[in-house]
Amino acid sequence: MNYPDYNSCILEMQGINKSFPGVTALDNVWLKLYRGEIQALIGENGAGKSTLMNILAGIFRYDKGHIILKGKPVEIKNEFHAQQLGIAMVHQELNNFPDMTVAENIFAGREPSNWGILSRYKMNDLVQKILNDFHLDIDPKRLMRKLSISEMQLVEIAKAASCNADILIMDEPTSAISMRDAEFLFKILNSLKERGVSVIYISHKMDEVFRISDSITILRDGKLISTSRASETNYDELIKKMVGREPKELFPLRSVVPGVTVLNINHLSRGKAFKDISLYLRKGEVLGLAGLVGSGRTEIVESIFGFPPAEQGIIEVMGKQVEITSPRKAIGNGIALVPEDRKLSGLHLLASVLFNITLPTLQAFARKSGIIKQRKEKSSAVQISQQLNVRTNNLKQAVENLSGGNQQKIVIAKWLLAQPRILLLDEPTRGIDIGAKSEIYQLMNKLTEKGISILMVSSEMNELMGMCDRIIALRSGQISKEFNHSEFDQEKILAAIMP
């Protein structure tokens, strides 16, 4: 059998409506999925992609509409019911049990047992098979919390894929994994497809979308814009439909000439994370750190920020040696860090947008006595969130209820407000749509024009090459090579980071 099979429609969502207090997240959305089809679901941040898929996975109830599964109308009651119906989902935000093993995570809720007694042996065995199937080199007995984010994501993908589901939903599966791991994922997807599994794949990465999908569905502001075969459309057309206007150039023209050295790092080391790192960053410069997950790229920026501090080495800011023993000290020296994982280390999810945006800079909005000048605080927050185009109807809204991309913008906003001299960005555009990405790149450019220097970690090679003046390649905790702008070459950089 050659998939996709366009004669066999496995799922139809008809006229789905869904609103949350104050927002219409979905407005009359129709979707058709065929057996063995990989369908990409794309759209701007807050377009309603996750909401639509959460409805299919039984997490949200919908207000209006019908779902037809294999020709029969169904009422999906909850997540468990969805699984029974053959629908599995990998969520946008990681959600696993950090203190359980990989095997326990994969089998959570469906543990193999003999007469009710958990058979750990059987479980580990089965999981080993699943991991082998997907060519993943992870020990089933390891604790989940010991894995890298990329590995965690792969485990969740393996978990969903091992459910024998007919429909597999993936909500931005590659936003948190490295390029190499993404290749694994594509292999997994293709082998699932050969078995007739249908996949709905949410992503903001267009190259991926064209590479793996059979058809592409676009949502904008909760409305269905179009569904088309991947072979019959092109990049520009998609972007135009997604954002509703002509696409801009993704990367701005960099015209800043780097000035004096503002950050100088000498022989920085920390345990097994990184060793003997020396680098400098000049005024108005964008310096990139390229490397695989585990290459020490995140740990280096964390240590520059004092979280935790490096064990050896010297950090100089504006030519003066500084002791950065805590984030507070780093902030005091004009350094800001946008961390890699917004949920774990960037946001207080239950608190409001306003709360999160002004947290690091509260002192600036307060009297000496510690009383906050609320009007001043609010107007600054409004200004910065407009500048970043954060989609929220009100600053009092809990961050938890924002779409993933908008949450990311909040993390960036909170640090822009701090007006740092040195901005450390760890995967700044993770989960951000193409339009917002280009906005963030423009913003980075503007910041550098104002004399701010940026050190950026990214897994996206085109982002590094498009934005950086220099790129430093890391390999297992050490600098392997440095590239000036004129030497940028994807192949060569990749060669420098591969083990």
């Binding site: 280390s345 239950l350 947290l359 307060a366």
Partner: protein, 309 residues
């Protein structure tokens, strides 16, 4: 439309429940809404209320303080021991009591923040230690014969409002001001909501935690002073189980045990619900055994309404 009604209910559910309780009580018992009885309820609530305000800080910090009842007793006996007639001016026992409470809270906070031991365990230890210290300090006997000026704190009225109620109101105002209007308050929410994110935002979370527990201890001490002055003796066995009433008030008031969310306003309503129930069930001559069951049920009910989202 349905959504909005729902939001309204989940936000003001506790307030509505409180109003309903008042309506029911005033229908069932004509004495309930009399001025003297209202003042009575407020006075009875004030001790638990003061403790619960401190507990709110700690629970928003994603912690818990089991020691407040014992700390209250320790502060009460220490304060009372300085309050014999003709020995010291009245501010000495007051400062001694407040200092004792704050110190206990400070130690709690220090161990929790610096040694990273679970608050449940640390404050459980302090609960036993403070109770023991109170018994050792007094040889197990209540401290009696306190000066008139000391006894006035709990017994007197200003404009026919009992002084404990006035103290309670002041504590509520300062507490809720701190939480909602100051940098420190924001840091409390941030630390309880996501400690890593708070630290990465430049907040020294250990300081916030230590201060939070110190506030809880300080307020337990204050409650100990008010209580001992009201009953005109400092008893080492007083305050048992007060931590549970305080936790109940906080939780009924919508503060999450997992931290990061909550208000003093909610806590006050929670404390008042408990106070009104105690009083109303007494007025209705419900047996004290039965009262416990009813109280437990109401707590469960209140929390269920609140969590129904």
């Amino acid at each position: 439309m349905r959504n909005q009604a729902f939001q309204f209910l989940s936000r003001y559910g506790i307030l509505i429940a409180f109003m309903m309780l008042i309506i029911v009580m005033s229908v069932l018992s004509p004495a309930f809404l009399k001025f003297t009885n209202v003042m009575n309820i407020l006075r009875q609530t004030s001790i638990n209320g003061i403790v619960a305000v401190g507990m709110t800080f700690v629970i928003i910090l994603a912690g818990i303080d089991l020691s407040v009842g014992s700390v209250l007793a320790l502060a009460a006996v220490v304060a009372a021991s300085f309050a014999h007639p003709g020995e010291y001016p009245v501010f000495v026992p007051i400062l001694a009591g407040l200092f004792t409470g704050s110190l206990c809270g400070f130690i709690n906070g220090l161990i929790i923040a610096k040694r990273r031991i679970a608050p449940f365990i640390v404050t459980l230890g302090m609960m036993t230690i403070a109770r023991g210290a109170a018994l050792v300090y007094t040889n197990g006997r209540p401290v009696i014969e306190l000066s008139d000026s000391y006894n006035k704190i709990g017994g007197k009225y200003v404009l026919s409002i009992p002084i404990p109620v006035i103290i309670f109101i002041i504590v509520v105002f300062i507490g809720s001001f701190l939480l909602s209007k100051t940098v420190f308050g924001r840091h409390v929410y941030a630390t309880g909501g996501n400690k890593t994110a708070a630290e990465l935002s430049g907040i020294i979370t250990s300081r916030v935690i230590i201060l939070g527990y110190s506030i809880a201890g300080f307020l337990a001490g204050l409650a100990g002073i008010v209580l001992s002055s009201r009953v005109m003796s400092g008893s080492p066995s007083t305050g048992q189980g007060y931590e549970l009433d305080a936790i109940a008030a906080v939780v009924i008031g919508g503060t999450r045990l997992t931290g990061g969310v909550g208000t003093i306003f909610g806590t006050i309503i929670g404390a008042l619900i408990i106070g009104v129930m105690n009083n109303g069930l007494d007025l209705l001559n419900v047996s004290s055994y039965l009262q416990q069951i009813v109280k437990g049920l109401i707590i469960l009910l209140a929390v269920m309404i609140d969590r129904k989202k």
